[in-house]
Each structure stands twice: as structure tokens, then as C-alpha cells.
Symmetry: C2
């Protein structure tokens, strides 16, 4: 059977001050009325019913997850260790109840425009992933020379039809010149971080490429469903290194395939991405809550409880909360995470 | 005897949101620890003791004025009608108790660096103003081609010594080219709005040039010190037109003299002026209260109760209060008053 694994463990520090450790971005409704996590679930549910979906997140977010997705299982991580341990945890849980379990791994902070095309692409990936030993990833046909995404080089495309192709290489985030070469070449895709594979297959690959993590979770597997489960999982995380499944497995493994998709995908990485994807007025402004603008353009304001007035400003991202206010130039949105690091370094933890 | 008349009737809408109708700029300490009004009083007190100083302000600010300057008299205006009625009111009050009263009229929103030089200039002006029929104004030797001030053309200077000179003409705020001509000519001064004259003299000049206002206040004069005083003053204001003493009297009168001064004068007109006059750090930032900056320069933040974070911003004026936040480009500071007008027009009076 097929299962959904929604990865919602991040703290989204680039969305400070709206995103706090107590309430990270994937639980926020930065667009419309539901959260990024709820939108991720709503997209997959027509393919995988609620009872076969699992949210993997830090244990401090268990209650929050249950409130937003009451019908979905939660796998609580005792500590955050990037995606490889997270996926190992999900894999041993699924394998224990279904030896033929296939996992659809979905980051919980994406925006996707064409859900139907998205599910059509997943169905092809799921079918391909039935073959033991096969890892499948979803690649996005690039619409511009993005420098903020990793890339996948593949053998194709040989047809317009949605199908899987062998992966040649994975490439880190490129500089602009390289990104433009990738775009022109036609055989590079954006790495979406969406994966499909059998639970036993990914564990087998981890045994090869991440033996430490594999052994830690194999050891914990025997305790699943016993009173010792919590302690065993905690021990497994403590023994695991902090590493992503891309770097730890995908870039090293054989028999990796990619299904190219064109369904209007965006990784909501920072406030600038929210601005780019938001509906703008004819001055290019995006204004939420009580805002007055005078000679201002290309600004986004996520207001709080107070009146916000912009006079003569351009290209600003303004996020107002009760205890903290961010005013950021649109081109500097990535640096917001540095501010959160600074707040930690300065022990200003009431703001993080 | 000589008396101080501190004009503190304005609402300072260009200092919104810190300046509110309930608490205007002259009562705020935008610099240091005392308000602009208290600083104005402190400058004049060595020359004119507290008991001979009067603050003319709207009646709604009487309590506020008494709190800030407990030893100074308050003349409460029932409505605001610019400076001519304000000065007529003060003149009839002084004349009633001292037929030889000389008035030193001081706007309450100036910043002056050299107090000693300032008082030396005033002493020369006071002496000159003893001659009946003489109006004396203080002119500021211009330090640059300012377009935000009115100018005074005078006959001089003929010596370095501080002395009074006849005024040729008053000029409105000029454009930059004209301001540069004024600066080069050497016989133009900034119009400071500081005046010295005998009470009977200014009333005599008003009889000539502003007969309506003159008659209104002459009529009220007879009621001073009686239970009818309040009603009589209110009637005088209601009968008075809204006009400045510069336009209504100075520009039309004969026998007007100016004493040029060089004591580091600034008219604190808007937030940009506050920035210009504030001590800056080596990124050109002026930061009050809890502020964190990352790649930001030439910004001023008057923070409130919350943390303010700037990322990658330049040339911004940020003023944070509990119910309203202003983010203004430094070049647009003058337009803040338009926002206040807009708030009135939209009935958003809780914010003004």
C-alpha cells in the first residue's frame, strides 16, 4: 500500500517574526485560510486517504499537528536531525505494519498550482517505485535560472508523456551563470525534495550509505509498539548524525529515477517568495490587515494588531507582530535567518 | 519689563505617530531628556525669570503645559488661529499689567546650539525694541541654501558686532536656485519666527494691518480679570481670521528691524530634521530603544515597546508606537502630515 509522509519538522527561521519556534511556518497560513501543512495534506488526500498519512515533526509540535490535521498520524521526533533520520523513522514504522509499504515523502512547505497534474506525476512515480531497489524523486521543469534550488541532471526527456527517467547527477545550488547553463541544456530539473520509494528499499540504501543511522533505527524497530518505543526512538536519534537524505543517499545511490513534473511548484523559502507568489495591487503592493500607503510600491506588509503606514518606501517586506517587527529589503529576505541566529547568540530567546 | 511668550499651539502632524493631537511634538522629548518646550523655556529663563514667561497654547494642552512647566503662566486658546491672534491675545494680557511690556515671542519647537550667543542676540533685540513703533525679528545667518525656510533681506551687515539692521523685504520659501542666489548675495537671513516688540507697538501695528483681529481683542481686553474673560477671549478668537503674524503684519509693516544671529539654529520641522540633528553611529543609523540592524544604513528608528529589526534597508525613518507604526523614506518626511489629513478624512480619529 502507499503511505504519505509529510515532513514538518523545520522551524522556518527565515519567516521570523511570524514563524517562531513555538509556531513554525508550516503551521502558518501565509497564503489564504489554511496552513502550508494543511494544504500539503489536502493535495495528497485524494490519492492517499487520511488514515495512511503520517506527519513527522518535532514532539513539541504534536499537539499543533493534531489540531490542524486531526485524522492524520503523527510521528514525533525527540530531536531534529535533518531528513535522513526522519525518513528512517518513518520507514521502520511503515515496514512494521506493511512489508510492501511505499512512501510518498512530501515536505510540508511547498506551494503547487496544478494539483491534478501533481497527483498524475506522483502516480507515475509510485508505479515506478514498486520495483525493489528503485529510488524515485520528483523533478520540476525549471521556469527560470533559479540559484536557490538544487538541480537534477537526467537522461531525457524522450517524450512529452509523464514518465520516469534515470538520474545522471545531483547538483548543489548553482551560481547564476551555471543555473543559466542548466536551463539552456534542457536536461536539468529542480530538485523538489519529493521522494517515492518502498520502505524496505530506502532502508536497504541507508544500510549501504548511512550505516550508522540504519543500525540506530533497526535497533529501535524491535521496540515499536512496546512501552520502550519512546526511549528506543530517542536513542536512535541521539546516535544519528545530522544529514539530509539528498546528500546522504540520493547523491550516492544507484538506480535513482526522476519523474519530471510541470505543475507550478514553489518552495516557500522566505518572505520574498511569499511576495512573489501573492496577488499584488496595481502599485505592486501586497497589504494584509490595517495598512495605509502613500507613494509606496512593490512592498508587502503582513500587519499585526496595529496600523502600519508606509510613506515613500519601495521593495520592503514588513512583518509586524505584538512583540517584534521586521522591516526587510526584498533582496535581503534570506538574511532573516541570520537575525534569528543573532537572537539566539544574544540570549534574546523570548523573540525566537 | 520684558516677558517671554512661548508659542506652543501646534499639533505637529509631521511628527505622527509620536506626535498626536493629545500630545503634540513640542511636549515630546525627541532629543534627550526634556521636551522642546522645556528646552525653549530653559534657554530664555536666564534672561527672563519663570514668573514673566507665558505659554500660549490650545486649552486642551493646559494641564500638559502645567506639568512640564509648573512655574510658567499659561494662556489658553479656545481654538487655533495661527500666530497673529495668539500674539494679540498675549499682547493685551501683558499690556493690562505693564503698559511698557516688551514681548519676546519664541516658537516652542526650535533647537539652538549656542544658548549664550542666542541670549546675547536677544538682548540686542530687546534694547532695539524699546523704541515705540519698532518691530524686531531675529534672522539666522544661513549655513546652506535651504528651501524649507522663509528669508529676510536686510541692509547690512556693516559690522561683525551683533546689532539691529533695517529689513528690506521678507521672502517666501524659495526654490533651490533662488535659495542659492540668496545665500551668495550675503544680505539674506533665515526667518526664525522669533520676534521682539512692545505689547502696545504690536497692537498698534495690528490696528493698521489686521484691524479685524485688533478690534476683536481690544473688545476682549476690557473683560480681562473678570468672570467674563473666558467668554470674551473665545469671542475674540471666533471673530479672528486664521493668519500668521509674518504674513499679516511683518511683511506689510514699516520700521521693521532684524538682528542677525549665528547660534546654530534649527526649526525641528519633521522626522528628517530629527535624523539630521541626531548623533549617528558609523553606519549613519540613529537607533532608540530595542533595535537590531543587519546591513542597514542611514536609518532612524524611534522604537516603542517592541523589538524592531532592520535587514538590508537604507534611508528609512521608522517610528513605532503601541497603536501605529510609521515607515517613511527619509526624502518623504514632509508627506507624513498628508497621512494625518487622510486619517481625519477617513474618520480614523483614534490614530490622530
Amino acid at each position: 500500500m502507499t503511505y504519505g509522509i509529510l515532513m514538518a519538522g523545520g522551524i522556518g527561521s527565515r519567516f521570523w517574526p511570524r514563524s517562531r519556534e513555538a509556531y513554525p511556518k508550516q503551521f502558518l497560513n501565509v497564503f489564504g485560510s489554511t496552513s502550508l501543512l494543511q494544504q500539503t495534506f489536502a493535495r495528497i488526500e485524494p490519492l492517499i486517504p487520511a488514515a495512511r498519512n503520517y506527519v513527522v515533526t518535532h514532539e513539541r509540535y504534536t499537539a499543533l499537528t493534531n489540531r490542524q490535521l486531526p485524522h492524520v498520524h503523527v510521528l514525533a521526533e525527540p530531536i531534529s536531525r535533518n531528513t535522513a533520520p526522519c525518513i528512517a523513522f518513518a520507514a521502520i514504522v511503515l515496514r512494521a505494519q506493511d512489508k510492501d509499504a511505499t512512501m510518498v515523502v512530501l515536505p510540508a512547505d511547498h506551494q503547487i498550482h496544478d494539483e491534478y497534474q501533481f497527483r498524475a506525476v506522483l502516480e507515475v512515480a509510485i508505479e515506478k517505485a514498486q520495483a525493489p531497489g528503485t529510488l524515485v524523486t520528483i523533478g520540476i521543469k525549471p521556469s527560470y535560472a533559479a540559484t536557490g534550488y538544487g538541480y537534477i541532471q537526467y537522461d531525457g526527456p524522450t517524450s512529452e508523456r509523464v514518465r520516469a527517467y534515470p538520474v545522471k547527477t545531483f547538483a548543489e545550488k548553482p551560481n547564476l551563470a551555471t543555473a543559466e547553463r542548466f536551463l539552456d541544456s534542457g536536461d536539468f530539473l529542480w530538485n523538489s525534495g519529493i521522494f517515492v520509494w518502498r520502505a524496505d528499499t530506502i532502508l536497504e540504501k541507508m544500510k549501504q550509505h548511512l550505516p550508522g543511522i540504519f543500525e540506530a533505527f533497526e535497533k529501535a524497530a524491535s521496540a515499536l509498539g512496546t512501552p520502550q518505543e519512546g526511549e528506543a526512538i530517542k536513542a536512535a536519534y541521539l546516535r544519528s548524525t545530522r544529514i539530509s537524505v539528498d546528500y546522504g543517499v540520493m547523491e550516492r545511490a544507484k538506480n535513482v529515477h526522476v519523474v519530471p513534473g510541470a505543475f507550478g511548484w514553489n518552495d516557500i523559502g522566505d518572505w520574498r517568495a511569499v511576495y512573489d507568489l501573492s496577488q499584488k495591487n496595481n502599485h505592486g503592493n501586497v497589504l494584509h490587515n490595517q495598512v495605509i500607503v502613500h507613494d509606496a510600491g512593490r512592498c508587502m506588509v503582513h500587519g499585526g494588531s496595529r496600523l502600519v503606514v508606509l510613506v515613500g518606501t519601495h521593495d520592503l517586506l514588513v512583518v509586524d507582530t505584538d512583540d517584534a517587527l521586521l522591516i526587510c529589503h526584498r533582496e535581503n529576505a534570506q538574511q532573516v535567518k541570520n537575525v534569528v541566529e543573532y537572537l539566539h547568540a544574544r540570549q534574546l530567546t523570548e523573540f525566537v
